[in-house]
Subunit: 131 residues, 2 copies
Amino acid sequence: VSDRLREDQRALFHGTALGTVVTLGPDGGPHSAPMWIDEDDGDILLNTAAGRVKDRNIAQDPRVVVTVLDPADPYRWVSVEGDVVERTEEGALAHIQALCRRYQDDEWAAVADQVRIIYRIRPRRVYGQDG
Amino acid sequence: VSDRLREDQRALFHGTALGTVVTLGPDGGPHSAPMWIDEDDGDILLNTAAGRVKDRNIAQDPRVVVTVLDPADPYRWVSVEGDVVERTEEGALAHIQALCRRYQDDEWAAVADQVRIIYRIRPRRVYGQDG
């Protein structure tokens, strides 16, 4: 257990593996779903649309966990627990476009009236297994 | 969103994909880690060792979520939210042996003084994406 990602763990956030992202609902119960994931300067970045379940959950409780498995060896994995320290629209469209190219080698199909959001998650606790 | 798994979703719990299992810690924060997963009669089964983080968490709060991605198409996934309705040692060693054969095609290496536990999770809410 550490409070930051190692280099080899950071690389898992720059590949094409989805991360399983956990937020907490209004009753404190966990909500879990896969997402595209990214990393910047040791923080985890997530990109979602304003108003979604995740967005509503994080507004109430900033605690998030992201778990990612190495597709080449799923017994190599990392979980990052942390808090959302920033929620911004700035650069969020360009960011989802870049994620779409990375994950699907395709252009992002913009959705009318959809506002994209970037969440920045600062790790508090990092744990996992090295395979 | 449903309160039970469909047949095609149940199959994901009988393959070799790990599930990401979320429990809630003493402070209500989420803990998330991959595990071997199983299914019986619509319930999710998990097998862990007594006294681990998951075991302590579940003793305090029975709410669990398990998310599993189809290895052949990770955009096909399912999340099962539910409560632990049973915690038993009965059959738990035979169960982890069977999981070891299924996941690793290998014999389970027994650990001295380790007590295995089966958790039975009754789905309350099932959601996901069909790929």
